[in-house]
């Protein structure tokens, strides 16, 4: 009978499809593929001095780069640093263009929905930078003015959530510093370390306002991984903790930042 045959066919194909799907769902941990290829691909923007930037030999160096190298060394694999714009960095991770993001990324609940975090591997505070002669003296004065933020970072979210600011987004700090000087924005909202380094480098006349801890004075930065990678996550977490314990981390931190930022 035709209908019976057809039914049998449907059942058989459903079973086959289910079998295929289930093998697709139970995917191997990324740790295995990293160990097989003997290489971990780590993404950073390369536009965030002193964490990741191109030195005059056009190599990507900095705190994030050194941490990446040290972690890879502990895993017994080589590191391949991939520079990609920060606003697309999570999309690239999900698209499997690399295995991890070590790009000074603040751990936020929103990001935790998309990726898993190892760490925090350092802490930094939110800073508000204004011109030296600005009328903005404290966080309370920061309203009804234009502020510059990096597209897609945690300060971008924060500035928008305040509701009384005109937010302009930028690709990186250098452009923001130029626009602050030119008067196109009244303030920059940013992590403290890069600003301090940049201002020291350029000699620009600015004033730094540090908001209270409750307003993001301290934030944890994490290493982002694709979800469902418990083994890779545990391996990196252990490697990070070992580095923190045996002085490797401190050395890296002193080299690039000048103090221990754990």
């Amino acid at each position: 009978m035709l209908t019976k045959k057809l039914k049998g066919l449907i059942v058989a194909s459903t079973v086959a499809a289910a079998a295929l799907l289930s093998t697709a769902v139970v995917h191997a941990d990324d740790l295995k593929s990293i160990q097989d290829s003997k290489e971990i691909r780590i993404a950073m923007s390369g536009q965030y001095s002193p964490f990741s930037f191109a030195n005059e030999q056009n190599q990507i160096v900095g705190f994030d780069a050194s941490i990446s190298e040290a972690l890879a060394e502990r895993m017994g694999v080589k590191v391949k640093i991939i520079t990609t714009p920060f606003d697309g960095i999570i999309a690239g991770l999900l698209a499997k263009k690399y295995d991890a993001i070590i790009a000074s990324m603040t751990i936020t609940p929103e990001r935790q929905k998309a990726v898993d975090f190892v760490g925090p591997y350092y802490h930094a505070g939110r800073t508000i930078v204004v011109k030296e002669d600005s009328s903005i003296k404290s966080l309370d004065d920061l309203k009804d003015v234009s502020v510059g933020v990096t597209l897609g970072d945690a300060h971008d979210k924060w500035a928008r959530a305040r509701g009384n600011l005109k937010v302009r987004t930028y690709k990186g700090l250098p452009e923001m510093l130029v626009d602050l000087e030119a008067g196109r924005i009244d303030a920059i909202v940013m992590d403290s370390v890069p600003v301090l380094v940049a201002v020291k480098e350029t000699g620009q006349k600015v004033r730094i306002i540090t908001p209270p801890d409750s307003d993001g004075g301290i934030e944890g930065m994490g290493i982002a991984l694709r979800k469902n990678n418990p083994e890779l996550k545990a391996t990196l977490q252990k490697a990070l903790e070992d580095m923190l314990a045996d002085g490797t981390y401190e050395k890296i931190s002193m080299k690039w930042i000048g103090n221990d930022i754990r």
């Binding site: 993404a43 923007s45 390369g46 536009q47 965030y48 001095s49 930037f53 191109a54 030195n55 005059e56 056009n58 990507i60 991939i82 520079t83 990609t84 714009p85 697309g88 999309a91 690239g92 999900l94 698209a95 499997k96 263009k97 690709k171 990186g172 700090l173 250098p174 452009e175 510093l177 130029v178 940049a198 480098e201 350029t202």
Partner: protein, 215 residues
């Protein structure tokens, strides 16, 4: 102006410009091949082919190249298409420019005096023969300049691949700016290199045009 900075970083800009050249040339070759298929579709007597070619051209000309690159690079893996940034860049730019090149080629063909085709057909040439022996040789001259305009647009548009982590001229510039804080000098150098590339293409186009099309 920090001239020594320009001097120190210039070799890396040359390397980066070379990546831009490679990506542009490969995209141009890919684009030309796809464009030929599209033109064949546009001029086909089969309705389905005509419609497909038209659809391709409207979709690729009607959406931003940036979005097309994002779909290929970030969206690709979701449907099993795993591409390195460089390959994704070449394919994205190539598929995009193909739509414009197809219109340039088709425009050139339709600009050939229709009397030529009529004459050829009346002395017994078939449709294909007419196209190959009569129309195309005359159209070839007419497409030099429009295709050159496409090539120039492609070189300038190649800066878009910096968003999918191809470290070409624009992204190299951005990376150097973040460690030197000198956007003016750095962007001037990259602009200068783009001008050199664009004018090299223009020079070639002018030469070909003078040689074959003028008169």
């Amino acid at each position: 102006m920090d001239l020594t900075l320009i001097q120190r970083t210039f070799p890396f800009f040359l390397e980066a410009a070379w990546i831009t050249v490679q990506i542009s040339v490969l995209a141009l070759v890919l684009g030309f091949l796809v464009a030929i298929v599209l033109v064949a579709g546009r001029l086909s007597t089969v309705l389905v082919f005509r419609c497909l070619a038209r659809l391709y051209i409207s979709v690729f000309r009607g959406t931003p190249c940036l979005v097309q690159l994002f779909i290929i690079y970030f969206g690709g893996p979701q449907v099993g298409l795993e591409l390195e940034p460089f390959a994704a860049g070449v394919i994205g730019l190539g598929l995009n420019i193909a739509a414009y090149m197809a219109e340039s080629i088709r425009g050139a063909i339709s600009n050939v005096d229709p009397g030529q085709e009529e004459a050829a057909r009346s002395i017994g040439f078939g449709r294909g023969q007419t196209l190959w022996f009569i129309t195309l040789p005359q159209a070839a001259k007419l497409m030099i300049r429009p295709l050159g305009v496409n090539a120039v647009a492609l070189i300038k548009g190649s800066a878009l691949v910096s968003t999918i982590s191809v470290v070409e001229l624009s992204y190299t510039a951005q990376r150097f700016i973040s460690s030197t804080y000198k956007p003016f000098e750095i962007f001037m150098v990259s602009a200068l290199l783009y001008i050199v590339m664009v004018y090299s293409v223009r020079f070639i186009i002018d030469y070909l045009d003078n040689r074959f099309a003028a008169r």
